[in-house]
Symmetry: C2
């Protein structure tokens, strides 16, 4: 997703390992991730990663953290490109979320299910993954004040929205939805319908 910049002995191996892990997860799924494969893909011996990560769980944790960084970056970029309307910003960053989640399905799964992770990093992770949620709540509050979004606790509204989006993405990525609508709709139409339903839930005409 990004390129490593040369930095030290053999380059910036830490970054290279994270990116190698990322590629492996996207190719082979979360189960396919092993220290040895990561090292091989990064072009080093399978003992080399231990100079940068104490153990496998720490590598995975770094991968997941980097994932949330990338997701946040994408969402912030989308938001800043959306102009000044808070609802447009909200919609645009949501779009970015969907693009990320559906563009890197296995990666997304690792980020959102503690699957590979021992209990270890849960706290750090929770913090990382909360920032875009807080952003959403702020958006909703502002839009409420402007009379665009129906009143109600924005935290609860956001939980409902996040549930819908996460569920839709998870099911779509696991290919559990397509056979339900078959040829009747395109993937894009279904995606748009779900987004529209979310905006209807907020009492908003979709921008």
């Amino acid at each position: 997703m990004t390129t490593a910049k040369a930095a030290y002995h053999h380059g910036d191996l830490r970054t290279a390992l994270i990116e190698a892990a990322l590629a492996i997860i996207d190719e082979l799924g979360p189960q396919g991730l092993t220290i040895r494969k990561v090292a091989h893909r990064a072009g080093v011996s399978h003992a080399a990663p231990y100079r940068h990560f104490p153990d496998k769980d720490d590598l995975i944790l770094a991968v997941v953290e980097r994932g949330f960084e990338l997701l946040d970056e994408e969402m912030e970029r989308a938001r800043s490109e959306a102009g000044s309307d808070p609802l447009a910003q909200f919609a645009s960053s949501g779009e970015a979320y969907l693009n990320f989640a559906m563009g890197y399905p296995a990666y997304y799964r690792v980020m959102f299910s503690g699957d590979l992770l021992a209990r270890k990093g849960n706290e750090a992770l929770r913090h990382t993954s909360a920032s875009s949620f807080v952003r959403m709540i702020d958006d909703l509050r502002i839009a409420q004040d402007m009379g665009i979004v129906r009143p109600g606790d924005p935290t609860l509204q956001a939980i409902s929205i996040v549930s819908t989006v996460h569920g839709f993405v998870s099911l779509a990525n696991d290919n559990r939805l397509h056979h339900l609508y078959g040829e009747k709709y395109t993937d894009q139409q279904v995606r748009d319908f779900v987004l529209t339903a979310i905006f209807e839930g907020l009492g908003v005409d979709q921008p």
Copy 2:
């Protein structure tokens, strides 16, 4: 979940293995499932399962299929206890779905992410998991005809609902929601809010 009935040589080992697998998944998570552990838990040698399943994937597939059977049974039971109002049936079976999903989190995860499964059983599985979805669509159509639910393609409505429920359950099971509302609400209140939002989306006053 059910008890094995004695049947043959050492009892009904096939069923016993599925139930042992189920218990292991719920205790150790999907990653913890191994043929050897399953066999040990069922009280047989680790070669015994090969008399009933050609390989590990087939065992997992059987577990997942049994899971969908159980889920369907629970939902049908709830539905039949809900009287004759189609919306009440719909709500009641939805409740049963949530209870199942949140009562056996690891099991639910295995059922809904191809996680452990090789591509092998995907087709069989898709069929199994579709039946309650079709049920939901029928409910919606009937409720629409009665003028209780707002018009629109019930397939799309159902996809939106399934996304919300699946997302909520997945996030809640991975403990990704609680810290977002903290002490402000009980788990039950949040759950009720999400369900209410679903009914609002259908243009219905919640029963």
